[in-house]
Amino acid sequence: MPVGPEWRLLWHGIAFKISADFNQEWSPPSRRPKGDPLNMGNQIAVQEGLFTWPSDNPQLIGRKELSTGRIYFPAIHNYVSDEDSEEVLLSTRGTLWTWTVQGFLPKNPPYRGTESVAEFEPYGVGYVELPGEVIVETRLTTANPDELEIGMEMELVIEKFMDDEEGNEIMMFAFKPAKD
């Protein structure tokens, strides 16, 4: 079977289409469509397997250790054996456990953002406790200390982190103050 670039483009296009049509039921990483770098304007997860994507109702993906019931995040970590664990989808709501605001431009690498010191906007970082599951570290949608309080309700959002060189939108997870 010929597997040239055109064929790959077609295959990914179909996969993406099917997934979108079926209202983005979650599927294991092996069957999940990848963002296609040849397709301008794709929204690509910053890392596959971190959260269900693409999806209308994205969720973080954790890993549950069967023998202890402990849940880890992200799932792709080698904390536990494959035999003693399974992937689990995490709650999209929780409470703010602690927070800070990143006030200076991080060094690149490891930071992937390419903005200048003058362009840099401080961003919120926190830990959100997902009840009965695990406490996850996350970017926050606000960097305003007046809008952040330990114990407040938070909800998961997937938002753009940056555009890559090919014009794709690199998507990351974040938590925002819950409305209700």
């Binding site: 880890y72 800070t100 605001v101 490891p110 970082v125 570290e137 982190f161």
Partner: protein, 381 residues
């Protein structure tokens, strides 16, 4: 039972020394320690040493002389110096050797550390989106601690003010100028609630200690300082540590609590017995939290103790008398040994303007760092 003593101390000034490698600063410290103990390099039977970013410590033999000495490198993150000292302690305690060296040195580039996620067992996304930054962890840990125990932001400022004051009295410190509260509180907010002046910076420096068994110690000094305890512990499941994409729901005590309790047990002493104290102050919040983790006060009592001056050089529990990491910067390999150097100098009464009054007899040191480890010592004249 063999006791272990420190009979010689040496230091290379902390801060920035252009034109001098970290290794050379380590060698400078060793020569000073040898001289302090009135011995030669070829008298040294064994050595343990380390640096995080300035080369293999055993290459110091190129600077000091090819005597064939047993020289082992120690690499243990922020506990590198503490682990070198603990190793040297064990070598003498076991009766195998009578005289040896523990040395640590470093030289880091300017600015915050830029760690590689993969080196910590993490994936690249963690660095990509800007979470691989140590200062965030410090901000978040003290944010929660202040919330839970009702500590005001001014206490953070007061810790930094004290550090720079003590640094101004220490000729080996990097920061020699006092900084007032307004400047500290209103400087750039790096990681809420911590401002620029509340953080230490990566830096350079070297420290060396000569250790001897009590059988021979008085050949080298008339004031041997006994190393009553040297301990090192790593984290448990549930402790809040740097570079953690997740945390357990259940909470566990920090590694400091375990290293500290083990040290008190080993020495047969308690926190109330310590006359001079050096604890890890990577930033102002760390000093506050470590006061409680090391048993010097209950959670929440720090505000009163700090604001009323009890942790000052002339206070009831003098903490970080040499200016700590805030005034000395943090050369990772040397930082833990700097604390021991300071305690030994204090117990000998050699600290001049920053000398703790009333002839201190016992002292305590504590380091804490990535990836969740701690090392403590207890020293006694």
């Amino acid at each position: 039972m063999t006791e272990v003593c420190i009979v010689g101390i040496g230091i290379h000034k902390f801060g920035r020394t252009d034109g001098m490698s970290g290794m050379q600063q380590g060698a400078h410290a060793v020569r000073e320690a040898l001289s302090d103990a009135s011995i030669e390099w070829n008298d040294v039977q064994f050595a343990f040493g380390g640096s995080a970013a300035a080369g293999n410590a055993d290459a110091l033999v190129n600077e000091l002389g090819l005597t064939g000495v047993q020289f082992m490198n120690v690499s243990n993150g922020c506990a590198t110096g503490g682990s070198a000292l603990l190793s040297a302690y064990s070598a003498i305690k076991s009766g195998q050797y009578d005289l040896g060296l523990a040395v640590g040195f470093d030289k880091h580039p300017r600015g915050a550390f830029n760690a590689d996620p993969r080196a910590s067992g993490l994936e690249t996304w963690y660095g990509d989106i800007g979470l691989m930054i140590t200062t965030q962890f410090f901000g978040m840990k003290i944010q929660k601690y202040m919330h839970d125990h009702g500590i005001a932001p001014e206490v953070l400022g007061k810790v930094a003010q004290k550090a720079f004051h003590n640094g101004s009295l220490n000729p080996n410190a990097w920061r020699r100028d006092e900084v007032d509260m307004d400047t500290i509180m209103n400087s750039d907010m790096l990681a809420n609630p911590l401002t620029k002046f509340m953080f230490c910076s990566p830096a350079e420096g070297g420290v060396a200690l000569i250790l001897a068994s009590d059988k021979v110690a008085r050949k080298y000094t008339n004031r041997p300082v006994y190393l009553r305890a040297a301990t090192m512990r790593t984290r448990h499941y549930g402790s809040f540590e740097v570079f953690s994409p997740y945390q357990a729901l259940q909470r566990a005590d920090a590694p400091t609590v375990f290293a500290s309790q083990a040290a008190y047990e080993m020495a047969g002493m308690g926190p109330e017995d310590m006359d001079v104290i050096q604890i890890q102050d990577t930033e102002s919040g760390a000093e506050i939290m470590h006061m409680a983790e090391n048993g010097f006060c209950a959670d929440g009592d720090q505000e009163k103790l700090i604001m009323e001056g009890h942790t000052a050089i002339d206070g009831s529990m003098p903490i970080n008398t040499d200016g700590g990491c805030l005034a000395n910067g943090e050369p990772i390999g040397a930082s833990g040994l700097r604390q021991v150097y300071e305690v030994v100098a204090q117990l000998r009464g050699e600290c001049g303007d920053r000398q703790v009054p009333n002839d201190p007899k016992t002292g305590y040191t504590h380091v804490y760092g990535a990836p969740g480890l701690s090392a403590c010592t207890i020293l006694q004249l």
